[in-house]
């Protein structure tokens, strides 16, 4: 048996788990015992004895098989209670990987904010990559190289889905991926891929980008993990833990010991849970593609009228953001973020230029300039991430945008609500003019102030927010400011 392969495929998380080690030890003892017993039996036996044993063994096997079959039949008649939903939390003990990681447990009461384990001194950080099953090899992707960017694009578009009967999948563009993965200060070594050694095919990926965030009162320079993806054919083989450990190791090597990440699945332990909301701009197409449903007693005409928007925006002074707005937007955004508990901190104008300034077909940003003072009072942005519609004759793509960062200057709750509703309505109009079919957002920030009034409907998707190696109290999604792609 191939020890290597076995170890690393099935035990991606093995290291550091004392329980596992103890079990392994017990297991070895058991094994020795078994061998001894086996030896005893075969040692003393005459030939007749041996034949007798063989016959007995056959008989025994038959009996057991029948019993097991009976039980299996009973099981088929009375199926066990249905499996849990993805939004339910599993016991920590059933998280073979996450139970070995510095993350809070689901039932833990959190007294004080702080790291779960201390920073690893440099000389104790593993210098060589984790071992992959031997058919695979690590690769660092060079996204400036068109063909490597394309490989990533292909991996994600074909595999960023759960299963084959998914109706939609994200259709990341090359420009989108470069925007998401190459912010100022990005590190190429954090664009981690896995290839099949034999044919060099890219089959898995995980990325990290540097980010500054504030969580409650703690400012941190950390890594944002995203785009974890394993080829559909290689799922459930414990490759994800190896990828996570590898990106963690590469972060440690840069002196970074905390991370932020989001996931649809519930892992130990979310800081917050946000829900997706969708605003139909093209109800007919959304219904045709099954993105949304037409209730049996509603006419399509009524629905279309309900979602109809003016063709012109109404906020005075609203215009596209241009490069000279960058410093002012940085101040405006950082100030607005101060009222939330988990927010990005934009330290340089370069970051704003990268993340916020309009890049066609990737991100669009609009600012409001006070006609008199010429000062910027508000801004909003949304990014473009279409989804391909799988197997539809007419419609190939749903054009979707997602609300990104925004800021308003008002400070009184009621004024904010009015202002936001006006701005977001304009955002819908602008998106509609760009032929967008659906405008999406999460219930973060102050989005709850306009979601209902602007006719957003709840989605079936949730997004859980996590921090790695950081313990702190949870918060409502309306205290979260970090928007991840």
């Amino acid at each position: 048996m191939d020890e290597q392969e076995h170890d690393h495929v099935f035990d991606g998380e093995g290291e550091g788990s004392t329980i596992d080690k103890m079990r392994a030890k017990q297991e070895k003892k058991n094994m020795k015992k078994a061998k001894k017993k086996a030896a005893k039996i075969s040692a003393g036996g005459s030939k007749a004895d041996l034949e007798d044993t063989a016959a007995k063994q056959k008989e025994l096997q038959e009996k057991v098989r029948m019993l097991v079959n009976q039980l299996a039949i009973r099981e088929a008649i009375q199926p066990p209670p249905s499996a849990s939903s993805s939004q339910k939390q599993k016991d920590m003990s059933s998280h073979k990987f996450w139970s070995t990681q510095p993350v809070p447990k689901h039932d833990e009461t959190i007294e004080e904010d702080g790291p779960i384990e201390p920073d690893t001194p440099y000389d104790q950080i593993r210098k060589e990559p984790y071992v992959l099953p031997k058919e695979f090899e690590w690769v660092t992707l060079e996204l400036n190289n068109e063909s490597e960017l394309n490989e990533l694009y292909t991996l994600l578009t074909n595999n960023y889905v759960e299963d084959d009967d998914a109706m939609f999948r994200f259709d990341y563009s090359g420009d989108f991926l470069k925007w998401a993965l190459q912010p100022p200060g990005y590190l190429k070594t954090w664009h981690v891929g896995v290839r099949v050694s034999a044919n060099k095919r890219l089959v898995a990926f995980v990325s990290g980008i540097p980010a500054d965030i504030r969580i409650y009162n703690s400012h941190q320079h950390l890594v944002e993990i995203n785009f974890l993806c394993v080829h559909k054919k290689l799922r459930s083989k414990r490759l994800a833990p190896v990828l996570i450990k590898e990106i963690t190791r590469r972060s440690h090597l840069q002196g970074i010991f905390q991370a932020v990440y989001t996931a649809g699945v519930v892992l130990p332990k979310p800081i917050s849970k946000a829900r997706y909301y969708h605003r139909s701009l093209n109800p007919k197409k959304l219904i045709d593609t099954n993105f949304s449903r037409l209730p049996p007693n509603t006419t399509l005409s009524r629905l279309i009228k309900k979602f109809k928007l003016p063709t012109e925006t109404s906020t005075p002074g609203l215009r596209s953001m241009v490069e000279k707005d960058v410093p002012e937007i940085r101040t405006l955004l950082n100030e607005y973020m101060s009222k939330f508990n988990f927010v990005p901190v934009f330290k340089t104008d370069d970051e704003i230029k990268h993340w916020i300034l309009t890049k066609d077909k990737v991100i669009w940003s609009f600012v409001v300039e006070d006609p008199e003072t010429k000062k910027l009072t508000d801004f909003f942005s949304f990014y473009y991430l279409p989804s391909s519609v799988i197997g539809h004759q007419v419609h190939k793509t749903i054009n979707a945008v997602y609300l990104f960062y925004y800021a308003v200057k008002e400070s009184d709750e009621k004024a904010i609500k009015g202002r936001l509703q006006g701005l977001m309505k304009d955002a819908l109009i602008l998106a509609k003019l760009k032929n967008v079919d659906v405008f999406n957002c999460l219930d973060l920030l102050e989005n709850k102030l306009f979601i209902d009034d602007l006719k957003f409907g709840p989605g079936d998707g949730f997004l859980n927010y996590y921090m790695y190696n950081w313990r702190c109290k949870g918060m409502g999604s309306d205290k979260v400011g970090v928007v991840m792609l």
Binding site: M1, V64, A72, A83, E162, F291, D460
Partner: protein, 253 residues
């Protein structure tokens, strides 16, 4: 200890494990258990070595191969001891009343939940609560679904007012024009439905087809007597609700 009690214990241990999928066993232990289980129920390895690519199948096969010469009794013994010793709540003299079990392999554990809400959604779509899927099978519901066979059956039965309105003040032709079922529209008009009948909001069937952008339906209505100058409550004609281009397509011979 007699053989039969040993096999009973083996079954109990096996059943216990399968009844408690939440029990966290290391993969080594799972593989060992798998190996013993195979030896007890089958004996020596009787399948081909899985390909390199299938490393999971391969590891299982290897685990079985490794212990294939263990006599069944010993394998059972080992299985039982392993279960007892893994610090889980099972002792050989204690049985677990509910004895429903899973099938032999641990593949089942990866149990992909089939329920829609059990899935992780990557692309979130609109969600709906439990909806009053008012499955009354009347001619209106067949019209909404476009079920032409059922509709003709009911029409053929004779006792139906083709211009009758439902609780929303809409006729069959309104619904067919809204949903875009051209064949239903053809049938209804053929059977004498009023092509310019008004809804409570004074909309004609053509209004519905224009707002909902069903070009084929709008064309059919327009060319079968629909009056495009009728205005609804908002003082808009059917063509006021659609683009100029759509209107031209409708009018075109």
């Amino acid at each position: 200890m007699t053989d039969s009690s040993l096999e009973e214990q083996f079954i109990l241990a096996y059943t216990f494990l399968n009844n408690h999928p939440e029990i966290n066993l290391s993969n080594e232990i799972k593989l060992q258990l798998y190996g013993y289980y195979k030896v007890v129920t089958i004996g020596k390895v009787n399948t081909a070595k899985p390909p390199l690519w299938d490393f999971r199948g391969r590891a299982k096969w290897d685990a079985w191969k490794e212990v294939e010469n263990t006599p069944a009794e010993i394998a059972m013994q080992m299985y039982i001891e392993t279960v007892e010793k893994t610090n889980i709540d099972w002792k050989r003299d204690q049985s677990d009343d509910d004895s429903s079990i899973n099938t032999e392999d641990d593949d089942k554990e990866e149990n992909k939940t089939n329920a829609k809400e059990g899935r992780t959604t990557y692309v979130s779509t609109m969600s709906y609560g439990e909806e009053e899927d008012s499955e009354v099978d009347d001619i209106f519901s067949y019209t909404k679904k476009g079920d032409i066979t059922e509709i003709s059956k009911i029409l053929d039965s004779g006792n139906i007012d083709i211009n009758a309105k439902d609780d929303q003040g809409l006729t069959l032709l309104h619904w067919a024009s809204d949903r875009g079922h051209l064949t239903v529209i053809e049938l209804l008009i053929d059977r004498g439905a009023d092509v310019n009948i008004l809804s409570e909001e004074k909309e004609t069937p053509l209004h519905f087809s224009c707002i909902s952008e069903h070009l084929d339906c709008a064309r059919y209505l327009y060319h079968h007597g629909a009056n495009s100058s009728i205005k609804d409550d908002e003082d808009l004609t059917a063509f006021d609700h659609c683009s100029v281009q759509f209107k031209e397509e409708v009018i075109k011979e």
